[in-house]
């Protein structure tokens, strides 16, 4: 089921009221950490009046006698398109004009048959107005008019989720009052319908369940092989759900619809808890039938306030985005300017005067000036470079070790030229690491032996005068 929100999200505290034949029941509910804590409050409690007058919202519900739910299916796979025809589909099912009703479509979803399914919740506007007038007599002006059947269903699922193996089983919640009862029927977690029951609850329930098809029709109708399987889970709530009454009804129903039977905790306040929970927490099948002309002015005010808050957030986000964008541009610009300043300062220092040229042009100018200075300083630098005498000493030493006969050796800043004769093909290669260590990028050329005198070789690097 889709999550929706139709309660009082602006507050953490609310009252829920249920006016029945037993009198009016209140609970005070507080939202905290994803759950709702509640306590029953007597109608005459002075704190109730005080808090209601102080603006703590109150929620109530239309009973299943005053309202109804319908499952609708529109022949469109696009939910937006399907939603447009739902009022027409609802209208043709009603014995009175839809314009005289307050209604909502809940849990819109696409089905595997490419249709859009929804739960319609509807009441005649006069019935809703009558309920509001009734509540007004006891000084209650609810901001939300929920629907009894939906509230009972979602609260039952919240307090007692389907057990293992009950995902496809029928689930029946019977809410018993002193003089009336409501049955809410579903399969697993899917809501199917809510019905007000007559005085003969057991036979009415039997008719209802059989109307939901052969699977809910009781033992014998679904086939002999699964006749004993528990296919119905029974839940009981309401002021009339005491053990003896439930046992009697369950006993009468168990033969045809076997299954576990559970009485919800604190059954008398079950409906008001449901209303408070739905008002304070988001969840499936939330609704408010106090719409249109009946809409509570507070809801409009709160909607306006939430809209203004949302607009404020959007505006603030825009302003933050503006500020961040401008800051990012300023930071980027100042970093570029910082590098430029450092470059200009260094270039000016190196040139000896402020340079008008920028970037690559300035770099070229500075490089030319630096090259001129390097030429002047080269003799000083050369004094600290490795000595040629050491290179020559190493060459002569290697020659003695490898039996090389040198003919000519020329070493200068421009490069090296070394020629001679080696006793074998590889002997002259011993010179290469010696010369490379001294910083020369050398090349060895060897030739075929002439008259068995040895292998003539030449080592060169760069350019030499010889």
């Amino acid at each position: 089921m889709n999550e929706s929100r139709a309660g009082v999200p602006w507050t953490r505290v609310c009252y829920a009221a249920d006016a029945g034949p037993e009198g009016i029941t209140f609970v005070r509910a507080v939202r905290g950490r994803g759950r709702v804590d509640w306590r029953a409050v007597a109608a005459g409690d002075p704190s109730l009046r005080r808090e209601l007058e102080a603006g703590i919202p109150c929620v109530a519900a239309l009973s299943c006698r005053e309202s109804f739910t319908r499952g609708l299916e529109a022949p469109f796979s696009a939910t937006q398109k399907g939603a447009k025809v739902l009022p027409t589909l609802l209208d043709i099912q009603l014995p009175f004009p839809l314009e005289a009703c307050v209604y909502q479509f809940l849990d819109l979803r696409r089905t595997s048959q490419k249709t859009t399914r929804a739960v319609a919740v509807c009441a005649r506007e006069t019935d809703a107005a009558r309920r509001l007038a009734l509540l007004s007599e006891v000084n209650v002006d609810p901001v939300v008019l929920d629907q009894e059947g939906l509230a009972l269903w979602t609260q039952s699922l919240r307090e007692a989720p389907p057990a293992a193996g009950e995902q496809d089983a029928f689930r029946v919640l019977v809410h018993l009052r002193a003089e009336s009862a409501v049955a809410v029927i579903g399969r697993g977690e899917e809501f199917l319908g809510a019905h007000s029951l007559s005085r003969d609850i057991v036979s009415h329930l039997g008719r209802l369940l059989r109307a939901y098809g052969p699977e809910a029709a009781g033992n014998g109708a679904g086939g002999p092989e699964d006749a004993a399987a528990p296919r119905t889970a029974w839940f009981w709530a309401g002021a009339g759900a005491d053990r003896s009454a439930v046992a009697a009804m369950q006993g009468a129903l168990a033969e045809a619809w076997p299954g576990r039977s559970v009485i919800h905790d604190d059954p008398a306040t079950f409906l008001v808890r449901a209303l408070a929970t739905r008002a304070l927490l988001p969840g499936p099948l939330r609704c408010n039938l106090r719409t249109g002309r009946l809409a509570h002015p507070r809801m409009a005010r709160e909607a306006g306030r939430r809209s203004a808050t949302a607009a404020g957030f959007v505006g603030a986000a825009g302003l933050v985005l503006c500020a961040l964008s401008l800051t990012a541009q300023w930071v980027a610009g100042s970093r570029v300017a910082g590098i430029e300043r450092a470059f200009d300062r260094l270039a000016g220092e190196m040139a000896g005067y402020p340079l008008a040229a920028k970037g690559a042009d300035a770099l070229r100018t500075v490089r030319r000036i630096a090259d001129e200075r390097q030429d002047e300083l080269r003799p000083f630098v050369f004094s600290f470079e490795p000595s040629f005498t050491r290179v020559i000493g190493s060459v002569l030493e290697t020659g003695r070790e490898r039996g090389l006969r040198y003919e000519m050796l020329s070493v200068s800043r421009e490069g090296i030229l070394l020629s001679g004769v080696a006793p074998d093909w590889n002997a002259s290669t011993a010179l290469l690491p010696v010369l490379r260590r001294a910083g020369f990028d050398v090349r060895l050329d060897r030739h075929e032996a002439v008259d068995d005198e040895g292998i003539p070789f030449t080592i060169t690097s760069g350019e030499t005068d010889e």
Partner: protein, 173 residues
Amino acid sequence: MRSLVWGAAAASAVAGVWLALHAAGAVDRAGRELARKRSELDELRAVAGELARSAAAKAVFEGEPGRRPAAVAALLDEVLPGVKPEDSRERRREIAGGWLVREHEFAFGEVPLGKVMDFAAKAEAQRPPWKVTKCVIRASPHAPGTGRVALVLEALEKAGEAVPGPARSRGGT
């Protein structure tokens, strides 16, 4: 009123998005410019570093003003007594900062190569040093270890302030 509030919010959001897009482009361009300028600055720093190293080399010489390179002819007499170079030339050229580059070129006939290298090493061990800038050896085909040698030595001297200093060796020789 609600439409006014939402209008202002929407205007702010649109301005924010527009500025963000504009800033994204500007920051991207600035990033590229920054990379280029940083590369230029790095290049400039490399040139400056190179120049600084060269200036540091000069500063070492500047730190010992008044010193003159040792008399190279005397060193030659000391290491190769009786050997007269076939040719001997001395040149001087002025460089910046009032410094002179003195250059001695020797051409020896058939001489023991080891002795010539000893002479060169001794000259390089002086302070301020002589430095071999060029050496050409043609080995004698008849007498191993001997040959004809052309040797060029170079030293730096501060012009004008030169005070004759003792020939001082660095290697303790």
